[in-house]
Symmetry: C2
Subunit: 336 residues, 2 copies
DNA sequence: CTGAAAGCGCTTACAG
DNA sequence: CTGAAAGCGCTTACAG
């Protein structure tokens, strides 16, 4: 019924105490401030009965904190980011924090815009999968001593917390498997983004070729345009597979590229078997249910989220600056 | 460098005007308030150069609005909700609004908690896929004249905006297809939630059986526990399929149940073909890439998000109360 | 043991 | 054409 929310003033009046007293009680400082038990009980009863909830906005303005964590990713609907978002939300919620998110679509400038927007909302901490060219924006956050954790993509030039998998290693292991299977013509289908994670996936591929004595061929590393439509990707990949009938193995550097690739193969009627194998980054139902099942590099979502949240709260709760940590987990090669 | 953000006071001082003047300029009321062009230009230059951004928290406290929309869903990592979240984010962003989200996991009480939390943050509008028993919480929002749009699941007892597909119709059409294919023993695999959307999916199934002269069998409607693990679901479904070798068609009422079902079938080595067909709710890559491809009821994510956002902004921008609308779209049966 | 008052950074009715 | 001042709902240093 009440169209207007209760304020601390209303509670104070009703309880016949000052708003100071109510504030101390709300914030659990009643004992420390020697408020009498009688008063505490009276006030708490009124708060309970009237369903009073402190106005967080006023609190934010006064304290400079918001209990909100900003999450900036490339695309919240990508299963990898959506999974991380879900797990982070859960863990943050348990500590009384909420998440506000935004997708950058890798648009340059969007990261800066989002950070400014979040700043003006007094966001307490930032979890960011940085787009290309986000260094300076994140640098400014660090200078202001804001808690920041990057994930998925590191920015090597910055001394900042990071959680991710060893992409070099993951690619290397995938290639090692191909080498064991006597593959000779192994393509890497990747994306034309100059971000560390993607670069490492390429580096691991190259190093493995060297170590296993497979000649590197420039024309077997395909960098697909990032903002390409699904349809265009499928067309391009069909052309690729037709152009290179000698291919006997493919590593896809992202889950959406793998999906496009599988669609291309399905359309062509080209089977996946001992003569033609594929491995995809980021495991998912689609790979488990595919016929045949698709081998994949699984990122440990739960461990990644755990580390992110722990690093965030380490920083939030400590007065002194905490030395940034780089947490590198292992991607798990799941052979099927 | 500046560890402390600029305030309107700093700008006013630097420009040698009052904060009132600066505020008018920031809020585009300069002309209306007859501020001289010289002053406007001077102030705007300083704002630009110093990169001043108004503190949104202070603004919220003063105006009672936050330019934040609250999104409450069952699970943000479910592809359906993640897709909606992405599209809504985009459309809201263009109007200067941001999204704060939370997952309820269908826990009773969680909705109330989230609404209260969002209220205390002065969220301007609510987009909710309501869990069981959320009626009274949403009712309280309506009484406070907050903009609210429900989606995915309607609450028939409330006079509130809603966007969703015609689930009765979608199930009916799926069953019609099965009838055309001369199916006789058609199971519905659904979830044990008493929410409208799920009930309608069952109702459409039943009505179609009547209309197409197929006997209804209680034992072919399987209500799986909502919070069941993937593994348990697969075990239960394998048992089901073994118990009912006479089954010749299955309609899965949610995408995750369909995925569990496909895993069960794969594990059993039971093929999907003319003798045993399936249709799934909520299309996705996993169904397109499956061998054979799986027919599905596609929800038009883009149209759903468009309607949600339009309804939200209709309410936000109008002074008078707007009559609630129920937008019922069609699910599209994609036969493969 | 408790309260009056300042102040967080804005917006806006009012005054001139 | 522009400014001083009140007030949004809190927290907290200070006073008694």
């Amino acid at each position: 019924m009440s169209t207007k929310a209760l304020s601390i003033k209303d509670i104070a009046k009703k309880a016949n105490v000052s708003i100071t007293t109510v504030s101390f009680i709300i914030n659990g400082k009643a004992v420390e401030k020697n408020i009498s038990t009688a008063v505490i009980e009276r006030v708490e009863k009124i708060i309970e009965e009237d369903g009073y909830k402190p106005n967080q906005v006023a609190r934010s303005l006064r304290t400079g904190t918001s209990k909100i964590i900003g999450l900036i990713v490339e695309d919240i609907s990508n299963p990898f980011f959506a999974g991380i978002a879900r797990l982070i939300e859960d863990k943050a919620y348990k500590k009384g924090y909420k998440i506000i998110y935004s997708s950058t679509e890798n648009q340059p400038g969007k990261t800066k815009e989002l950070i400014n927007l979040f700043k003006s909302r007094q966001v307490d901490a930032y979890i960011i999968a940085p787009a290309e060219g986000a260094e300076s924006d994140i640098e400014s956050l660090l200078q202001e001593k804001k808690p920041v954790v990057l994930f998925d993509r590191s920015l090597p030039s910055l001394d900042v917390n990071y959680v991710g998998i060893d992409n070099f290693d993951a690619s290397y292991n995938a290639l090692k498997q191909f080498a064991l299977d006597k593959k000779k013509n192994i393509a890497l289908i990747t994306v034309d983004l100059d971000i560390e994670q993607i670069n490492h996936r390429l580096d691991g591929y190259k190093q493995a070729l060297v170590d296993f004595n497979i000649p590197f061929r420039e024309d077997l590393v395909i960098k697909m345009p990032f903002n390409q439509s699904r349809e265009d990707a499928v067309v391009q990949l069909i052309a690729l597979f037709e152009l290179h009938p000698e291919l006997d193995a493919v590593l896809f550097a992202t889950n959406y590229l793998a999906i496009s690739g599988l669609m291309a193969l399905k359309e062509m009627g080209k089977p996946i078997n001992n003569e033609f194998s594929v491995i995809a980054y980021d495991d998912g139902d689609v790979f488990k249910l595919h016929t045949p099942q698709i081998s994949a590099v699984e990122q440990p979502l739960d461990a990644i989220s755990d580390h992110i949240i722990n690093l965030i709260f380490q920083q939030i709760s400590s007065k002194e600056p905490v030395a940034p940590q780089k947490v590198i987990l292992s991607g798990k090669l799941i052979l099927r």
